[in-house]
Amino acid sequence: MPRIENEIWTRIKEGDSAAFAELYDGFASAMFSLSLQILNDRWEAEEVIQDVFSYLWRKPDSYSPSKGKFSSWLLVITRNRSIDRYRSRKRRLDRGQSDEVLNQKEDFSQTDGAEEATLNDERKQLRVAFRLLPPDQRQVLELSYFKGFNHKEISEKLGLSLGTVKSRIRLGVEKLRNSLSTLRL
């Protein structure tokens, strides 16, 4: 798969719009799911996807194969841009500034019901593996990866030492990696 990914990237660098479409069709959904999970706002998550693809089309050289897999790089960028927005929104609220959306959130707890059936095997297994992590590792990973908390913030929130926070994150990702040794994108 990495070979195919690199081929797509090479074609995008050459301005091949079909390769760009191929990339979108292959990865946009995973990128969007990630961004939506972080932001819980469909329009903002769509904007992140638009931003990332625009950035890639304008500056394809910002990626290089030495940086690892193309798909991993895309997901990390998507995650970091989503966290940027999440933090920016949080800062505004922390400063007591009004935000029509956040101040008047609808109360909904229902989940999007259509997706489970469409999960591919890899993602399904990843989610199972994540659920099987010890709760303390899962909680730290969620705060760190999906909420953008830094180690200090997590240690204060959960009353843990910095070292414990770091080791729980590291152990969590290692367990996920090991459980997926046969599964790659």
Partner: protein, 414 residues
């Protein structure tokens, strides 16, 4: 090696202190173990990413994204024209930039109590509508029940516009201009999409469009009537850079409507960076861009128009440029409207108000009350080159501003 792995993971998560990030980046230049650790950390993070609840993207997003690959319109004819050359020669930066809010009046400045009440009711209705079309709403998840219920229980927003405009509005009067800005910049499009959404086959893309329009309209109203919502206005008046990206994301590949006529927006030459310094300034800038779009969109001969935002082509300012392919008759009609000539057709007076609103804003942005002088300097204008009509306005740029984003997460790997 364990330390290196931890550093790579922290770097990927964006939680490594800046100095340590720089050291790690230096290490990456020559250390294979560091590179391997980074690749592993990225893959670990990618694994975590795939845990997210799957959600589907609509085709409309795909079509917006694919717009990036389309060739950009060639703006050389207008940028090398005598008009823009004149702007270049005459534009000079200000020591104190205008930061918006100058077009604001009190609701009490409106003579008619009925008009005052109408405006307040409209604002309150939009405040109620806003969460129903937000990105975390039921409608954004494809469940339109609540949105339908809200839209169907009230009359169309087009009736609000009609009622607002039925009052005796004198164009020269600041209070009348605030009413016109509130009724004509965003509302025609807002009423178009809310009407369409209240029908039986609502779409996510219309919901998204209505979200942006509603947000913009609320800000335009607060910037127009300072006492309509003082608490939120206080927030709007705080210094906070607003980037061109905000305009890009909402206009890029969008459908734009002016009353019953709708057209496709194409963009391509948006710069990266801030445009305004406060929300109230952005609301004014935004209203100007809507006015350009409203003037151009219904007259386009192929149903499309281009919106471009350029910096550095005229040093010291940002240039909002709208262009469309237009037949000569429509162009002449537009010129008649902009010059207020007697050749205007019946019904063109609303469009003339759109231009007046831009002119009004130009006097504030360029700190010059002499419209004749601003026209001479080509601070704003209209011209035709070959089959294209171009409308533009220049806005003083923010000096020394590098970034339009209010964000601080380090961006490793980019």
């Amino acid at each position: 090696m364990d330390n290196l792995k931890q550093t790579a993971l922290d770097y990927t998560l964006g939680v490594l202190p800046k100095e340590d990030s720089l050291l790690f980046e230096a290490l990456l230049e020559h250390d294979d173990e560091a590179k391997t650790s980074l690749v592993t950390a990225q893959e670990d993070c990618a694994n975590l990413s795939l845990i997210a609840e799957p959600a589907s993207l609509g085709n409309e997003v795909r079509s917006r994204v694919m717009e990036y690959t389309k060739p950009r319109i060639n703006l050389d004819p207008i940028l090398e024209s005598r008009e823009i050359e004149t702007l270049r020669e005459n534009f000079s930066a200000f020591s104190h930039r205008y930061q918006g809010g100058g077009g604001s009046v009190d609701l009490n400045d409106l003579g008619s109590i009925a008009l005052r009440d109408d405006i307040r009711r409209n604002y309150e209705s939009l405040i109620e509508l806003f969460p129903l079309v937000a990105g975390d709403s039921h409608a954004a998840r494809g469940d339109f029940t609540l949105l339908h219920k809200f839209l169907r229980k009230q009359s169309s927003y087009s009736e609000t516009i009609e009622r607002n405009l039925s009052h005796d509005l004198i164009g020269e009067n600041p209070a009348s201009r605030s009413v016109l800005r509130s009724a004509l910049a965003t509302m025609p499009s807002l009423s178009f999409f809310s009407d369409r959404l209240s029908e039986d086959d609502p779409t996510l893309s219309d919901t998204r469009r209505l979200f942006y329009l509603c947000r913009d309209q609320l800000k335009i109203m607060r910037a127009s009537f300072r006492d309509i919502d003082p608490a939120r206005l206080e927030d709007d008046e705080k210094l906070r850079l607003h980037g061109a990206g905000l305009l890009q994301t909402k206009w890029w590949g969008a459908e734009h409507a002016y009353f019953s006529s709708s057209g496709k927006v194409r963009c391509g030459n948006f710069f990266d960076g801030p445009v305004t310094e406060r929300c109230v300034e952005f609301a004014e800038y935004d209203a100007n861009v809507y006015c350009l779009a409203n003037l151009l969109s219904p007259r386009s001969s192929d149903g499309e128009f281009h919106l471009e935002l350029l910096k550095d082509t005229v040093p010291g300012c940002t240039l909002a440029l709208a262009t469309a392919k237009m037949d000569l008759t429509n162009h002449q009609n537009l010129e008649a409207i902009l010059s207020g000539s007697s050749k205007m057709k019946k019904g063109d007076s609303l469009d003339q108000h759109l231009w007046t609103l831009i002119e009004d804003s130009m006097t504030r942005g360029h700190q010059c009350s002499n419209l004749g002088e601003l026209r001479e300097r080509r601070a704003y204008g209209c011209t035709r080159i070959e089959n294209y009509t171009y409308l533009w306005f220049a806005w003083p740029a923010i000096a020394n501003a590098q970034d339009g984003a209010d964000a601080s997460t380090p961006k490793p790997l980019q």
